[in-house]
Subunit: 205 residues, 2 copies
């Protein structure tokens, strides 16, 4: 009922189980390669039953994409905390710059790298971005009321996600998930550049 107030033992247990399933899945994917293990293997490695795995995730692919959902949920949470008057693109870039230093980026980068080119996992990651875009639309609505056109809000939310995703992809291609300070600083640079282009309407200056 009050998951924010009281992380009860039950909730802690569930979170821990979930976490161990995700870790086991990523681990297996790194060791054996994608598609070279079964849900039973994951369950064994995570110390739960096969049936319990399916209580948490609908497939191994979904479990592999979990870090991406986690990262974007965190981003969205921060968006809700931004000051009301702040321009939307400003909120977005501030949040992403802060998150580029966050612990959450590591598991997401791992998950992207390990599942690169593997369509089933990629689809879940795309879904994470898409759901986040929808939630941004809802959050903007909350913040600004109904003063803005649906098409404006939807396009903007989609473009913000696209720019964030583009920066992430270019960074992963360039640095292969290196998490050193200089590499992360490059990620921030890519984010800034990408949003500059968005703000300027992609003029070829």
């Amino acid at each position: 009922m009050t998951p924010l107030e009281s992380p009860s033992r039950r909730e802690l247990n569930k979170a821990a189980t979930r976490e161990s399933i995700v870790e086991a899945t990523v681990q297996l994917a790194r060791e054996r390669g994608l598609g070279e293990f079964t849900v039973e293997d994951i369950a064994d490695a995570a110390g739960v039953s096969r049936r319990t795995f399916f209580n948490y995730f609908s497939s191994a692919d979904e479990a592999l994409a979990a870090p991406t959902f986690g990262f974007l949920d965190a981003a969205l949470e921060r968006f809700r905390d931004r000051p009301r008057g702040e321009p939307l693109l400003e909120s977005a870039i501030q949040i992403l710059l802060a998150l580029a230093d966050n612990k959450l980026i590591e598991p997401m980068a791992q998950s992207f790298l390990v599942s690169h080119g593997h369509d089933p996992v990629t689809r879940f990651q795309l879904q994470a971005f898409d759901e986040c875009s929808d939630k941004i639309v809802a959050a903007i609505r909350e913040r600004e009321g109904d003063t803005l056109d649906a098409i404006y809000v939807h396009s903007l939310a989609g473009c913000v996600m696209s720019c964030g995703k583009a920066a992430l992809e270019v960074w992963l291609a360039e640095r292969g998930g290196d998490l050193s300070p200089s590499s992360l600083s490059r990620l921030r640079e890519l984010l800034v550049t990408s949003f500059e282009h968005l703000k300027s309407g992609f003029k070829t200056s």
Copy 2:
């Protein structure tokens, strides 16, 4: 070897088989609802064996998303035919305005409507948009050489797809797939508005 020159009987047969599978799938989804039929049902309705279904598609969900892939492939083909000097956003809007009147939009609209809120199919549709974005990146590279930054090209391609997708989603929500001339004209209006916002950097004028 020369699929464009000679649509041989073999190629025609394959295309027809593929088409009948997609039609059978959409039909079943409309009649019974998503998830209320098996691949065997589809195969029977399409007049092929279950095994043949899997020679064409990896799942019923993929078959349902086929029209989206088809639409975006057509869009991309047109992009490759645009004049070299034309600004990229101009190419995009011209192509989409033309396609908003094309036959291809109907099956895509159907497929979107029938699978609305059904995650597995949605994921395939998102993949279609994402792949198209990658192909746009490649096409821009071909057109402009390596004069542009990776982050510029990736962000731009992503934003173009986002704006197209946003217009489509708002239109479907407003009009529920009505394909009358006035409804299609509204779709074009949404596309134009969306791209105007993109070109102006989403200024709140």
